[in-house]
Amino acid sequence: MSFLPTILNGLMVGGLYGLFGLGLAFAFGIMRIVNIAHGEFIVLGAYIGASLLSVTHLPLPAVIVLVAVITFALGWALQTVMLNRMIGPNPVPAMVATMGLSIIIRNALVEYYGADIRAIDIGPLQDQGVSIFGTSIGVLPIIIFLIAVLLFVLMHILLTRTTLGRAFRAAADDFEILETLGFNRKRVYAIAMGLAVTLSAIAGLLLAIRSSYSPYSGVERLLISFEVVIIGGIGSLRGSFLAGLFLGVVQLIGLRINPNSGPLFGHLAFFLILLAKQANLPALFIRRRA
């Protein structure tokens, strides 16, 4: 059997992993905040989307926009109410606080929706396929991948062509300069966190449409996001995108080889890359004087 369909599917799911990583890297790059609840926001996007779909019967694009608005507000509130009070050289308080938040969201989802594994059903589109390079690929994964690419392009335009984007990049370098230019640092941060959460939640909703999710999926999705950030580097849209594609392919090939391996192969690939990045060979031979 050929691995081509697996690789193509890995690329398509990888686009979403890239978005996961982009959201995490965005908050970390600008505010030096590692949002441990990132994975739970990804899952929350799926639950909010699923509820809206079943309650309102709106078309999927409208639901995606609604989820974006709601999760932006959540991210904005998270930064304004909690994280803006924890900015500083010590990263521990924000990490512990968002860890607490992740426990709250995870268990609230279990209490409200139950712990079972779900999938979102959006009707006949799910079963349609097209033939590429002689292998059949679902139409839905292609659409989802294109949405992911579109979001990356929009982020690129936002960061390079708009005042807000320049403010983000300036905030990542030096927030004091930013304040002398008349920006309100805390407002810029709140918008950035809103955007970071929105990106991840939309990606989480899209992932839930093409695979399954449960309240406990958040941890795995946080770890994937983190791996994307480390492999792709912070502050690089292209890096996040490529790292996402790489992890997507590795994970799906791993699952083809061993269906019970879960995210194991992705983790191992991540550590190989981490080691390769760390292996500063000359340093092994030159003794550094303390």
Binding site: N90, V92, M95, I103, I230
Partner: protein, 320 residues
């Protein structure tokens, strides 16, 4: 003229009395010793993790890895070599120390969030690998095969082991903090750059604290799973262990010896109080952790110490 001495030896006596009273009540009171045993183990693990997080600033989200490694090592050596389970604890300590050194080398260049989540990924790897390993029962887990266990005394024996672990941990860390090395650790906690400038090696101190915390968690995990005679990867490598430890240290006060005592008391009171509402208990736990970071980032004992300067376990030097 007297040189610098440790302050408030009266406070030290208070600490001894407190821990003695706790141990005594644990021995005398309950017929069912499972809960006191768990309290002892979780407190010991929290103190170990606190040594790492509170004093060297390395926030680990992956110490469940060592709990699992300790438990599985014990079950493996007891089942294959047929030795006494309590002798097996020495193997748990040794193997976890080796694993900790390997992890320290892997994450050598990773600080802050990179370390926190890197070790989390590693713990997840171990969980998945053990879950694939048929020799230890893969995801089904394994049963301890120790026919010479006497069921009438086993429960007590495990409890004594847990009590010994927590007392040794508490006083070993207390003693350690009063040595040159411990003062170095506290200097790193307060200001790493300044500490390095007066000749303290932060890197080496961090590795020693890391290995020590790993060994304590491994032995704690081994005793816990020994008491239930069964271990499985989903339980032994469960993130909930880490959340429990983190909650206790953070809410009680990281970087103090008293903080984990308070945190453990709060954790178990809350858990017993909300026994029938598992989900609500976890949600409240998360909320308390987040609120602590908002309003008392030094933890509850940090608040007390800032107001009164009192220490149950005095680790400060004063000049007489």
């Amino acid at each position: 003229m007297n040189g610098p001495v440790f302050s408030r030896n009266a406070g030290l006596i208070g600490g001894v009395l407190l821990v003695g009273a706790l141990a005594l009540s644990a021995i005398l009171l309950p017929v069912d010793r499972r809960l006191p045993m768990e309290i002892c183990l979780v407190l010991a693990m929290a103190q170990g993790w606190n040594l790492l997080c509170g004093y060297t600033g390395l926030l680990s989200f992956g110490h469940q890895a060592f709990i699992g490694v300790g438990a599985y090592t014990l079950f493996l050596v007891v089942n294959t070599l047929g030795i006494s389970p309590f002798l097996g604890l020495a193997f748990s300590a040794t193997v976890s120390a080796v694993v900790a050194v390997v992890i320290a080398l892997l994450l050598k260049g990773s600080r802050d969030a990179y370390f926190s989540i890197g070790i989390w990924v590693l713990a997840d790897c171990l969980r998945l690998l053990v879950g694939q390993w048929d020799f230890v029962g893969s995801s089904q887990g394994m049963v301890l095969n120790a026919p010479d266990i006497d069921p009438t005394t086993f429960g007590d024996a495990v409890f004594w082991a847990a009590l010994a672990l927590v007392l040794v941990t508490q006083f070993a860390i207390f003693g350690l903090l009063r040595t040159r090395f411990g003062l170095g650790l506290m200097a790193i906690r307060d200001n790493e750059t300044a500490a390095a400038s007066v000749g303290i090696a932060p890197g080496r101190s961090r590795i020693i604290a890391f290995v020590a915390s790993a060994v304590i968690c491994a032995v704690g995990g081994a005793i816990y799973y020994l008491s239930v005679l069964y271990v499985d990867p989903a339980g032994a490598f469960d993130l909930d262990w880490q959340i429990r430890i983190l909650f206790i240290v953070i809410v009680g006060g990281a970087g103090t010896l008293e903080g984990p005592l308070i945190g453990t008391a709060i954790y178990f009171l809350l858990r017993e109080f909300l026994q029938d509402h598992g989900g609500l208990f976890l949600i409240i736990q998360g909320a308390i952790a987040a609120l602590t970071m908002l309003f008392a980032p030094q933890g509850l004992w940090g608040l007390v110490q800032a107001r009164t300067g009192f220490q149950l376990f005095p680790t400060k030097w004063v000049t007489q």
